[in-house]
C-alpha cells in the first residue's frame, strides 16, 4: 500500500494526544487528517480512498458512539477504531456490536494501534473492491431490456427455454434470442456464472 492510496482520520479533543497520534501514524508512512470534534470530521470532505477512523469516545458535543451511529445512518462505512481513557464493558460491547474494528484503552501500545489501523484499512479496501464489482455488475444489468430481465430471472430459477417461453407467452426462438443477449450483455460464460452473479445481489424481477 502506498501513501497515496489510503487515509487515516483521527478525532480527539486533546491537542497533544491528537498531535502525537498524527506523528505516530505518519511515522509509518500513512496519510493522516486530525479533527478536534466529531462535527468537524463530519463536515470535512473525505477523499475517495481506503480510510479508517481513530476515534476518542469522550468528545465535546457529539460523542464517539453517537458519531458511529450517525455514520451508520448516513451509510458512511469507514471502519472505526475507538480509543478511550476509561472504558467500561458495556461501552466496549456496544461499540463492537455496532461494528467497530477495535476498542483500545489508553495508554495503549503503539503497535496495537498501528496493527488495528492496518486491519481497518484492509477491511475498507476489500469492501471498496467488492462494491466496485457489484457496481459493475449493476451497470451491466441496467443494460438489459425489461424482457431480457424477465428471461434472466426465469433462467436463474432453473427453467428450461420452453418453460420460460410458456411463462412469458413468447416463442422459444424469441426466448433463445433473449437468452443469448442476456449472456452476452452480462458477460457470463455459463449459466452457473450467471447464477452466481444473480446471487451477488441483483434483484430478481417478478
Amino acid at each position: 500500500m502506498t501513501e497515496a492510496d489510503a487515509m487515516v482520520f483521527v478525532v480527539d479533543d486533546d491537542t497533544s494526544l491528537r498531535e502525537s497520534l498524527k506523528n505516530l501514524i505518519r511515522s509509518v508512512g500513512l496519510r493522516v487528517e486530525a479533527f478536534a470534534s466529531a462535527q468537524e470530521f463530519l463536515r470535512s470532505k473525505r477523499p475517495n480512498v481506503p480510510s479508517c477512523l481513530v476515534l476518542d469516545v469522550r468528545l465535546p458535543g457529539l460523542s464517539g458512539l453517537d458519531l458511529q451511529k450517525r455514520m451508520a445512518e448516513a451509510d458512511v462505512e469507514i471502519p472505526i477504531i475507538f480509543i478511550t481513557g476509561h472504558g467500561d464493558i458495556p461501552m466496549t460491547v456496544q461499540a463492537m456490536k455496532a461494528g467497530a474494528v477495535e476498542f483500545l484503552t489508553k495508554p495503549f501500545r503503539d503497535q496495537d494501534l498501528l496493527d488495528s489501523i492496518q486491519q481497518a484499512l484492509e477491511r475498507d479496501r476489500k469492501a471498496r473492491e467488492q462494491w466496485a464489482e457489484i457496481e459493475g455488475l449493476r451497470r451491466r444489468f441496467d443494460l438489459l431490456t425489461p424482457r431480457e430481465g424477465e428471461v434472466m430471472a426465469l433462467m436463474v430459477a432453473g427453467l428450461l427455454n420452453k418453460q420460460i417461453a410458456a411463462e412469458l407467452g413468447a416463442s422459444e426462438t424469441t426466448v433463445k434470442i433473449h437468452r443469448h443477449r442476456v449472456m452476452e450483455k452480462l458477460g457470463a460464460g455459463s449459466l452457473a456464472e450467471l447464477v452466481r452473479m444473480a446471487e451477488r445481489g441483483i434483484p430478481t424481477q417478478k
Partner: protein, 1212 residues
C-alpha cells in the same frame, strides 16, 4: 468510475487554468512589460508544472531585447537568461506546426520538450518558450493554454506600450503649456507698468489744471482761446464768472458782445479786428454791462497767430479791473475835493522844504505876525515865539524835522501889536513812493480863548475834586449817545479803587468792578432812566481788586440840549459802605436771635399791662403756640385760647398776682395746638418800668419743655423696668461708700437676695456681714479690703445664711468709682444668686466620675484637644491604657505619641494630619509599646466638634484597647485557613479519578510521540525525529504543570494575597476539572470578559471556591437524563469596580426552603458530604471583600455568583 471522476477533475482543472489565464490582463494593467511577462512565466510554470519558462521582449526603441527566465521554486538559477536565450536561439522562430520540439535541456540533464510562443505578429513583441521534461508535454489542453496565454501576453504588452506612449505625449503637452503661461505672465506685467505711468501723467495734468483754475479765481482773471474762422471759443471757469454766464453755456463771440457795454461795443470790435488782421498782440479795456445793470471794467490781453493748420487762433486773458478803475476815479474825486477844501480853510497854512526852509506861507499868517515872506524865510518867525516857549519848541521842531516825525506844539506867538496869543502848531511831512520827504505842511490854530477857558475850568475842577474828596462823593458825566463817560472825577476813580494820578480808567474798567449780582440792576436802572429821560437813584456794590466790597449810592440827572434832546447824564456816587455794614449787622443779630429762639424753643413776648395785649411775639413764640409767624402778633384772646383748659385758671392767677405785686412771674402750663398736639411750656415774665416808675409792660420768654417732661417720664419707667429685671434674674445692685464703709444703695432685689425686706433701705455693713455664711465671712472681707486698697475690680463667691435657714450661693462683682479729681469715692456692683448653677456643677462632677469608672471597665480612654488653646485633657483610663499612672502623671499629647509603635507611627501621623486638615472624623488602628516592652493593639476614633456657628472648637478621641480582640481574630483566621485547607484536600480527593485522567493524557501522548520518534529514526527522517522529541518534551512539561497545580491546591499555605488575572485562574480550574466535566457529559461554556482588572487575593483560595462551585454544579446535574447538562462559567465587570464570577447549571435547581441554610456550616444535601464547602467558600470570598450568593437559573438550575473588589483598571 474512478477514471471518469479523475477525468472530470482534470478537465475542471484545465478550465480553471484557462479562466485564470484569461483573467491575467486585468492584473497587468499599468505594469511594465518586463513585469507582465515575468508574472505570466510564473503562472505558466505553476499551472503546467514546467521545468523552465523563458521570454524575450523586443525593445520598441531598438535597443537590446529584454530576456527573462523563470524556474520552478525548488530550482536554483545557475544560468543567465541571456545564455538560455542563446541556446534556444536556433529553435525560435520555427513554424509552430513542428511543436513540440524535443531538445537538450539547457538547464539540466536529459531532454526537454519546448514550446516556443510568438508574441504579436511576426514576433513583433517577442517570444516565450515553455519547457518541460514531462513526456506528455505538451498535451492538447496545454497547448491550447499556452496559445491563449501567449495571446493574452501579447495583448497586455501592446497595451502597456500604448500606455507609456500616451504618458510621454501628455508630459510634453504639459511642458508646452507651462512655457506659454509664463510668457503671458511677463507680457501682462509690462502692460500693467505702462498703465500706471499713464495714470500718473494724467494725475499731474489734473493737478496743474486745478492750480490754474484757482489762480485765475484769485486774480479774477479768466483765460480764453478763440479760433477766429470757426468761431470756436474756449473759456476758463473764471471767464464765465466774469461774464456772468453759466459754465455750461457754449461760449461765442455773440455772447461776448451781449455783455459788452453798448458804448464800448464799437471800440471793442475794432480792437479785435485790428488784432486779427495784423496778427499782433492786443491789449485794451472796455466795460461790461451786467444783466443786473452793474458795470464791470475788463482788460483784455491776448495774442493772435496762425496755428499749425493755417487757422487764425487767438489766446488770451480777461481781467476784471473794475475795482482798480473805481479806485482811480475815487482818487481823482478826492483830489478835487481836497483842493476845494484847502481853498476854503481860513486857517494859516504853510509849507516847508524838506530841510525846513519856508516854501509857502498863507497870507493870514503873515498878517498876524506882521512879517513879510522874505522876513519869514529869513527866520524872523523864530523871534515871534514867546521867550518861555521858544527853546523847547525850537528844540522839538529840530528833532521832528530830523526824524521826519509829525510835529505838534502849543506855542505863544507874538501878534503884530505885540500881544502874545496861544497857537496850536502842526507840521506833517509828505513822502513820495520811495519814502523820502518831499514837503512839510503846517498849520497854526489860534487857541488863545480856549486856553483861558481851560484855566478857569481847571480851577473849578480842583475845587470840586476837593469837595468830593471830603465827602467821598465821586461825580461823573456820561454821554447818552456814545455811552462814553465823558467825565469821571478823581474821587469817583478813588471810590472804585483806581489811582486818579495814573489816569482815568476805561468805562470797561469801571464796569468790571461792579459786583456781579448787581451789574444787571445797574444797567437796567440806567437804561430805564435814559428811556424815560428821568433822574435815577440806585444802590449797588463794587468789588475792589483786593476783595473789599463797597456799597455805592448813585444818583443821575439828565441833561438836555437846546433842542430838547437828551445829551448826557450827570451824577454822583456816594460811598455808603459803612452805613450798609451797620444795617447788615443789625439784620444778622436779629436773625441769630430768631434762630436761637427757634433752637431752644424759646419764644419771647412783651405784654402791655395797660392794654392787656401782646405787643411783641417772636417768631418762635408764634410757632410754639401754633400761630403763623408771618401773620404778626396774635391777640390776647387768641393766645388764651391755646392754653389748656385745666391750666388756664392757674396761669391767669399767677400772672395777675405778679402784676399786682410788680414781681417776676414763672408758671408751667400746657397748650393745645390747632392740630391737637399738646406741649408743655414754661413761662417766665419780668416787669418793665418806665422812667416814672410805672409798670408799663411785662417782657418774658416761653420755653417748650415737652421733651424734658417726656424724658422724665421715660426715666421713671426705665427705673421701674430695671427693678423688675433684677427681680427676675435674681440680680441685685449695690453701692458702697469707701469713706464711710457703709452701703449707700441696695436695690430691691439685692435686699431680697440677702433676705431683707425689699421695701427697706440699704442694710448696714454689720447687718450685711451677719448674713454672710460664717465660713465665708473672712474671705469675703479680705477680698473686699484688698480690692479697695488696690482700687481694683473684685469678684467673690460666698454663701449667705438666711434667717429661715436657707443657704444661697451668691456671686458678687464690684467696680471702683472715682470722682473727677481721681479720688476713690465708692464701689458699685452686682450680686446674683448662683445656687442652681452650683448644684448643676456638682451634678456634672458626679457624672464625670461615673464616666471615668465606665471607661475603666470597658478599657476605653478618651481625650480632647481644644483647637484654639491647644489645651489637652485625657481620661484616667486613657493614661492607664498607655501605661501611665493617672494619679501621678499629667496627660500631655507627647506622652501618648511617644508610646506609638515606631512602625505604625508614620501612618498614624498621616491619617491624623489628613483628618485634621479636612476637619473630618477619622479612625486608626496601631500598636503601642509600653515601657516593659509589651505591645498592645489600640483602635482610636477621632471626631471634630463644631459650635453652633459651624466653627471647629475641639477634637475628641476615643481609644480602645483591642489587643485581646486582635488575638482572637488572628486565631480565628488561622482556624479558618486550616479548615479551608482540609476542605481543599477533601475536594481534591473527590477528584482523584479526574486527576489521574488528566495526567494520563500527556503521558499517553508522550509515549506515542516517543514511539513515532523511534520509527522516524529507523526511516532516517531526522527532521521528524527532532519534532517528535520536542513534542515529548512539551507533553512532559504539561504533565508537570498539572501536578504542580494540584500540589498547590493541596498545600497548606497561609493566605497570600497577590495581584492576578482572574480569567487565567478560571482557565486553570477549568483545565483541572475538565475530566469531571467530560466524564459526566457536561457541556461547559465560558464567557469571560476581556477587560477585567487584576484581583488582589489568594489565588489558590479563590480557585478553591470556583472548583467547589463547579463540582457542586456537576454533582447536581448527575441526575439529569433528558435535557442538556449545561455548565456556564462567566466573568464580567460591574459598574462599581468589582468583578462578578457566576457559575450556572441546568440541574434541578435549589430548594427555596434551603436557600438560606445553604451557606451554613455543616449543612449538606449530600450523604457523605462535610457540608463545609459553601460555608468556607463564602468566608473566603468575604475575606476578600466580596459577596457570595445563590439564585435560581432560568429556565431551570441554580446560579452561584460572587463578587471581588479590584484594583480598578482593566487588564489589557
Amino acid at each position: 468510475m474512478k477514471q471518469t471522476i479523475d477525468e472530470i477533475r482534470r478537465l475542471r482543472g484545465c478550465i480553471n487554468d484557462l479562466i485564470s489565464v484569461q483573467a491575467l490582463p486585468a492584473m497587468w494593467t499599468g505594469q511594465e512589460p518586463a513585469q507582465i511577462v515575468s508574472t505570466l512565466l510564473d503562472v505558466l510554470i505553476g499551472m503546467l508544472r514546467l521545468d523552465f519558462a523563458y521570454a524575450r521582449l523586443k525593445d520598441p526603441a531598438g535597443e537590446s531585447p529584454i530576456e527573462l527566465l523563470r524556474l520552478p521554486q525548488s530550482r536554483n538559477l545557475t544560468a543567465s537568461p541571456q545564455d538560455i536565450g542563446h541556446v534556444l536561439q536556433p529553435w525560435l522562430g520555427d513554424d509552430p506546426q513542428k511543436w513540440p520540439l524535443l531538445v537538450r535541456n539547457p538547464i539540466g540533464d536529459g531532454d526537454v520538450s519546448i514550446v516556443p510562443l510568438r508574441l504579436g505578429l511576426r514576433d513583433k513583441i517577442g517570444v516565450i518558450v515553455a519547457g518541460s521534461q514531462r513526456a506528455d508535454f505538451p498535451g492538447e489542453t496545454e497547448r491550447l493554454l499556452l496559445s491563449v496565454a501567449a495571446n493574452q501576453a501579447a495583448i497586455g504588452l501592446q497595451e502597456a506600450r500604448l500606455l507609456s506612449e500616451q504618458k510621454r505625449v501628455a508630459e510634453e503637452l504639459d511642458q508646452r503649456v507651462a512655457q506659454r503661461t509664463s510668457q503671458l505672465l511677463v507680457a501682462n506685467e509690462e502692460l500693467e507698468k505702462e498703465i500706471a505711468e499713464r495714470k500718473r501723467a494724467e494725475e499731474k495734468l489734473r493737478t496743474s489744471q486745478a492750480f490754474l483754475t484757482e489762480a485765475q479765481s484769485i486774480s479774477h482773471t479768466g483765460s480764453f482761446g478763440w479760433r477766429v474762422s470757426s468761431e470756436d471759443i474756449f473759456w476758463s471757469e473764471e471767464t464765465f464768472r466774469i461774464f456772468q454766464y453759466d459754465p455750461t453755456t457754449k461760449p461765442s463771440v455773440a455772447l461776448v458782445f451781449q455783455r459788452t457795454h453798448p458804448d464800448d461795443v464799437a471800440f471793442a470790435k475794432q480792437a479785435i479786428e485790428r488784432a486779427s488782421q495784423d496778427e499782433k498782440d492786443f491789449d485794451f479795456e472796455h466795460r461790461l454791462l451786467m444783466p443786473d445793470g452793474s458795470i464791470k471794467h475788463v482788460r483784455v490781453v491776448g495774442h493772435a497767430e496762425r496755428g499749425q493748420s493755417g487757422e487764425l487762433e487767438s489766446v488770451g486773458a480777461v481781467m476784471d479791473v473794475t475795482a482798480a478803475r473805481e479806485a482811480e476815479q475815487q482818487i481823482r474825486l478826492d483830489e478835487r475835493e481836497l483842493r476845494t477844501t484847502i481853498e476854503t480853510i481860513p486857517a494859516t497854512v504853510l509849507s516847508l522844504h524838506p530841510d525846513g526852509s519856508i516854501d509857502f506861507v498863507s497870507q493870514s499868517w503873515l498878517d498876524y505876525l506882521g512879517l513879510s515872506l522874505e522876513e519869514m524865510s529869513g527866520g524872523a518867525w523864530r523871534s515871534a515865539i514867546h521867550p518861555e516857549d521858544r527853546d523847547q519848541v525850537l528844540n522839538n521842531w529840530q528833532v521832528a524835522l530830523a526824524a521826519g516825525e509829525p510835529f505838534e506844539a502849543e506855542v505863544r506867538h507874538r501878534r503884530a501889536d505885540g500881544k502874545y496869543r496861544w497857537f496850536l502848531v502842526r507840521c506833517v511831512p509828505l513822502r513820495d513812493e520811495k519814502g523820502n520827504i518831499v514837503k512839510w505842511y503846517g498849520t497854526h490854530f489860534d487857541i488863545e480863548d480856549r486856553k483861558r477857558a481851560e484855566e478857569k475850568l481847571q480851577r473849578s475842577e480842583a475845587y470840586l475834586a476837593e469837595a468830593q474828596k471830603l465827602t467821598h462823593t465821586g461825580s461823573w458825566v456820561q454821554n447818552v449817545a456814545t455811552g462814553e463817560r465823558t467825565h469821571s472825577s478823581e474821587e469817583f476813580c478813588r471810590l472804585y479803587g483806581f489811582d486818579p494820578e495814573r489816569g482815568v480808567p476805561s468805562r470797561e474798567a469801571f464796569r468790571q468792578r461792579i459786583h456781579r449780582e448787581d451789574s444787571d440792576k445797574v444797567v437796567e436802572t440806567y437804561d430805564r432812566a435814559v428811556g424815560e429821560r428821568t433822574d435815577f437813584e440806585t444802590d449797588y456794590r463794587i468789588v475792589l481788586p483786593d476783595g473789599t466790597i463797597k456799597y455805592l449810592h448813585a444818583i443821575g440827572h439828565p441833561v438836555f440840549d437846546a433842542a430838547g434832546d437828551l445829551v448826557e447824564y450827570i451824577g454822583t456816587n456816594l460811598d455808603v459802605t459803612e452805613r450798609r455794614r451797620a444795617e447788615e449787622k443789625l439784620r444778622r443779630s436779629e436773625a441769630y436771635l430768631a434762630e436761637a429762639q427757634r433752637l431752644t424753643h424759646t419764644g419771647s413776648w412783651a405784654h402791655n399791662v395797660a392794654t392787656g395785649e401782646l405787643t411783641h411775639a417772636s417768631e418762635e413764640f408764634c410757632r410754639l403756640y401754633g400761630f403763623d409767624p408771618d401773620r404778626g402778633v396774635p391777640s390776647d384772646r387768641e393766645f388764651r385760647q391755646r392754653i389748656h383748659q385745666e391750666d388756664l385758671d392757674r396761669v391767669e392767677e399767677n400772672y395777675d398776682r405778679a402784676v399786682g405785686e410788680r414781681k417776676d412771674v414763672a408758671v408751667d402750663f400746657r397748650v393745645i395746638l390747632p392740630d391737637g398736639t399738646v406741649k408743655y411750656l414754661n413761662a417766665i415774665g419780668h416787669p418793665v418800668f418806665n422812667a416814672a416808675g410805672n409798670l408799663v409792660e411785662y417782657i418774658g420768654t416761653n420755653l417748650d419743655v415737652t421733651e424734658r417732661k417726656r424724658a422724665e417720664e421715660k426715666l421713671r419707667r426705665s427705673e421701674a423696668y430695671l427693678a423688675e429685671a433684677q427681680r427676675l434674674t435674681h440680680t441685685g445692685s449695690w453701692a458702697l461708700s469707701v469713706a464711710s464703709g457703709e452701703p449707700t444703695h441696695s436695690s430691691e432685689e439685692h435686699l431680697r437676695l440677702l433676705g431683707f425686706d425689699p421695701e427697706s433701705d440699704a442694710p448696714s455693713m454689720v447687718e450685711f456681714r451677719q448674713r454672710v455664711h460664717p465660713q465665708d465671712r473672712d474671705s469675703v472681707v479680705e477680698t473686699m479690703d484688698r480690692a479697695i486698697s488696690e482700687r481694683s475690680d473684685f469678684e467673690a463667691d460666698f454663701r449667705v445664711l438666711l434667717p429661715d435657714g436657707t443657704i444661697k450661693f451668691l456671686h458678687a462683682i464690684g467696680h471702683p468709682v472715682v470722682n473727677a479729681v481721681g479720688d476713690l469715692v465708692e464701689y458699685m456692683g452686682t450680686s446674683w444668686d448662683v445656687t442652681e448653677r452650683k448644684q448643676a456643677e456638682e451634678a456634672l462632677l458626679k457624672a464625670q466620675a461615673y464616666l471615668h469608672e465606665a471607661q475603666k471597665l470597658g478599657h476605653m480612654g478618651s481625650s480632647a484637644t481644644n483647637v484654639f488653646s491647644g489645651a489637652f485633657v485625657a481620661s484616667p483610663e486613657l493614661l492607664r491604657i498607655f501605661g501611665y499612672d493617672p494619679d501621678k502623671d499629667k496627660p500631655t499629647m507627647e506622652m501618648f505619641r511617644e508610646r506609638v509603635h515606631p512602625d505604625d507611627l508614620p501612618s498614624t501621623l498621616e491619617i491624623h494630619d489628613k483628618g485634621r486638615s479636612e476637619k473630618i472624623a477619622y479612625e486608626m488602628d496601631y500598636r503601642i509599646v509600653l515601657p516593659d516592652r509589651s505591645i498592645k493593639h489600640v483602635h482610636t476614633v477621632t471626631h471634630p466638634v463644631f459650635d453652633h456657628s459651624g466653627d471647629l472648637v475641639e477634637y475628641i478621641d476615643m481609644t480602645m484597647d483591642v489587643t485581646e480582640r486582635k488575638r482572637a481574630e488572628a486565631a480565628l483566621l488561622k482556624a479558618q485557613a486550616e479548615l479551608a485547607h482540609v476542605t481543599r484536600v477533601a475536594t481534591l480527593g473527590e477528584m482523584t479519578a479526574s486527576i489521574s485522567h488528566e495526567i494520563n493524557q500527556p503521558l499517553g501522548a508522550m509515549v506515542n510521540n516517543a514511539n513515532a520518534c523511534l520509527r522516524w529514526l529507523a526511516a532516517s527522517k531526522l527532521e521528524e525525529v527532532r519534532r517528535s522529541a520536542m513534542l515529548v518534551v512539551a507533553d512532559g512539561h504539561r504533565a508537570g504543570e498539572i501536578i504542580a497545580r494540584i500540589r498547590a491546591l493541596a498545600q497548606k499555605a497561609p493566605t497570600r494575597k497577590d495581584w492576578f488575572d482572574i480569567n487565567k485562574a478560571i482557565h486553570e480550574v477549568i483545565a483541572l476539572a475538565r475530566s469531571e466535566v467530560q466524564g459526566n457529559r457536561v457541556s461547559l461554556k465560558t464567557q469571560l470578559a476581556g477587560d477585567l482588572p487584576p484581583i488582589l487575593g489568594d489565588r489558590v483560595q479563590l480557585q478553591q471556591v470556583l472548583l467547589n462551585l463547579m463540582m457542586n454544579a456537576i454533582e447536581a446535574m448527575r441526575g439529569v437524563d433528558e435535557g442538556p447538562r449545561d455548565l456556564w462559567v462567566d466573568s464580567e465587570r460591574l459598574e462599581s469596580t468589582d468583578v462578578l464570577i457566576a457559575v450556572r447549571d441546568s440541574g434541578p435547581g435549589l430548594d427555596p426552603q434551603s436557600l438560606d441554610r445553604l451557606f451554613e456550616a455543616f449543612y449538606t444535601t449530600k450523604p457523605e458530604g462535610l457540608g463545609m464547602g459553601l460555608a468556607i467558600s463564602r468566608s473566603i470570598i468575604e475575606a476578600h471583600g466580596g459577596r457570595l450568593w445563590a439564585t435560581a437559573n432560568a429556565p431551570r438550575g441554580a446560579v452561584f455568583q460572587f463578587t471581588l473588589p479590584t484594583g480598578g483598571e482593566g487588564v489589557s
